[in-house]
Symmetry: C2
Subunit: 353 residues, 2 copies
């Protein structure tokens, strides 16, 4: 059993559970820090562990390009290559093709992409994506999906669902047995296509289900509608993962709709560029009002950074282009996200939401 449902809210569709994964138990709802290139940017893994994270996201496509499958195979998989001792989920790369604009073409049998590193061409098929992930040996693998941008015509969305279903079937066939594989629901903003995709994937009995193709430019109401609709179609005893989302407020909303897992670059990207998440909203530390503000980033936060450093000092680091600025602020933002989701979990357990 991968997912253990501990509590279902009586006030919303929010759930509290646990993921039982090869590298340990993970409480849900869970936010997963993004470590695209096998590192959470600027954070030694001891920081990630100290904050309390036990599950991070690596990107199989990026790591296939660099350092390459051979090196990770020789190392004995991603855990041995990176030294991270807890759980890893690998994204297959379908979304990166969308987000990085490296797509060359999509065929019925796969996606041809052009490397942003050296311009070389690579065909990602479901077989290939599973071959890579089987070598990487993460704790959770993702199927290859066809993620269309928004807006998509109905024809394009139908095609996407057709391919996503076919590729999911192939991925399942090529997955090493007794390892965990999640499917991805596509269908753009067409609810009947989302329903078709979800129901067919559920028939294939995956270990978990992701909702993909949201936060790709569509208006927020559409995202909410799609997530609510799809979450209701997914089995209660399997984890639900909303890919690439979101702000702290969004996490709360989607948790109330029944989502268990999230990943997003916001805390790390904002951390690198000088924006802090605080209990009173986001603040831009570069602003001159913080030049002699000797308070912690967030006076209500008890993280290592807030206990030891001031806004004025961190602002100085950003102004002086010192690496320590991004390092410290990323740490704080990841801590903020962890604490935020932990509190939501407590509220669900208390039947407060």
């Amino acid at each position: 059993m991968v997912f253990e449902l501990l509590k279902h809210s009586t006030k919303s569709r929010a759930r509290v559970g646990r993921l039982h994964l090869p590298h340990g138990v993970v409480d849900t709802p869970v936010f997963m820090p993004v470590a695209t290139q096998a590192t959470v940017k600027g954070q030694p893994f001891r920081f990630i562990t100290e904050i309390g994270y036990r599950l991070i996201v690596n990107n199989a496509y990026h790591l296939y390009l660099r350092p390459g499958t051979d090196i990770i195979k020789q190392a004995g998989g991603l855990h041995k290559f990176t030294g991270w001792q807890h759980n890893i989920l690998t994204d297959s790369g379908g979304y990166q093709v969308f987000s990085m604009g490296e797509l060359v073409k999509i065929d019925p049998d796969g996606i041809t992409v052009r490397s942003h590193l050296d311009g070389s061409y690579h065909k990602l098929t479901p077989e290939k994506v599973m071959e890579i992930q089987n070598i990487f040996a993460p704790d959770i693998k993702m199927v290859l999906d066809d993620c269309p941008p928004w807006p998509a015509t109905r024809e394009r969305a139908e095609e996407s669902v057709d391919r996503t279903l076919r590729w999911a079937t192939i991925c399942k066939q090529h997955n090493i047995s007794d390892t965990i594989l999640f499917a991805i629901v596509q269908g753009s903003t067409y609810l009947d296509l989302r329903e078709l995709c979800a129901k067919e994937l559920v028939k294939l009995n995956f270990d978990g289900y992701a909702i993909g193709g949201v936060s790709v430019g569509e208006p927020r109401e559409f995202t909410l509608e799609v997530v609510q609709f799809v979450a209701n179609l997914l089995p209660k005893d399997k984890p639900r993962y909303l890919m690439g989302v979101g702000t702290p407020e969004e996490l709360l909303e989607y948790i109330k709709l029944g989502i268990d897992m999230f990943d997003c670059v916001l805390p790390t990207r904002y951390g690198r560029t000088g924006t802090a998440f605080t209990s009173e909203g986001k603040i831009v530390l570069r602003h001159s009002e913080y030049k002699n503000d000797f308070n912690p980033i967030d006076p209500t936060c008890d993280c290592y950074v807030c206990k030891n450093y001031t806004r004025a000092y961190i602002r100085h680091l950003f102004n002086a282009d010192e690496m320590l600025g991004p390092i410290l602020l990323t740490y704080h933002n990841l801590y903020f996200y962890k604490r935020w989701v932990d509190r939501i979990r407590d509220m669900i357990l208390d039947d407060a939401i």
Copy 2:
């Protein structure tokens, strides 16, 4: 008493001692990591403390320019501004003027420099430099000196000694009483001028003596000759600081000549650019031979990085332009320097060198 001499080698002029400073005891010989802009690049202070460092170098001139004296004054000094809880030595900025080529002119009463940040002009006088350092409140302050480049004519070297002596006198007069101030011996490669400078400074009774104006382009033999000559002129009961030096091998040589304190950017700069210090010499981790080398950076090293990460992974981080590469390698290099100097200290205690 600032300096406590514990042992003098019978085989060389090497000494073992202790600095008694406001923020705790520091064993000598000691290497001091450079934190020019109030941060050891890429290292949260907890790493610096964990490695074992209790004394770091800040640059008063850089911090005077940015974030500015006012902000550090409002914070209550450098310790409160940065959060570093151990000892700080502030360099006055005389050397930066030399090394950054920002010098506009040197008068009998001070140095006019042009800011590399905004092109503004600033006159550093001994009075000004002490005013800044008195506000910064480090554990050890340095006088303003006139550091000529190599080669210097005898006339230029005489002028440098004349100014350095006069400025040292003024600095001492303007230092807050009962705070620690070190003088700097100049005189280029003219031994009689070095002797004059050292003897006159010793008469003024400073808390410690630095040897400046070495490693400024002169041949190595000259450096050794100057250091050996000057070290012998300095009082046994005061610490001796060789500024801006050096490689691990150089540290050993100069310790044997009686030097107690060093600072150098080598471990941090090499750490940022991909070169590791190891027990078998320097290695350039970017080289392809390390792409599938799953050994630690230095198999004989027991630092956090060597216990948790491989050469192949760190090489990947550098190739992928990931901040974590510089962070981890700087940590290791600083650990290497600490362990190196600690071993030399043990060897002196054992009368092995």
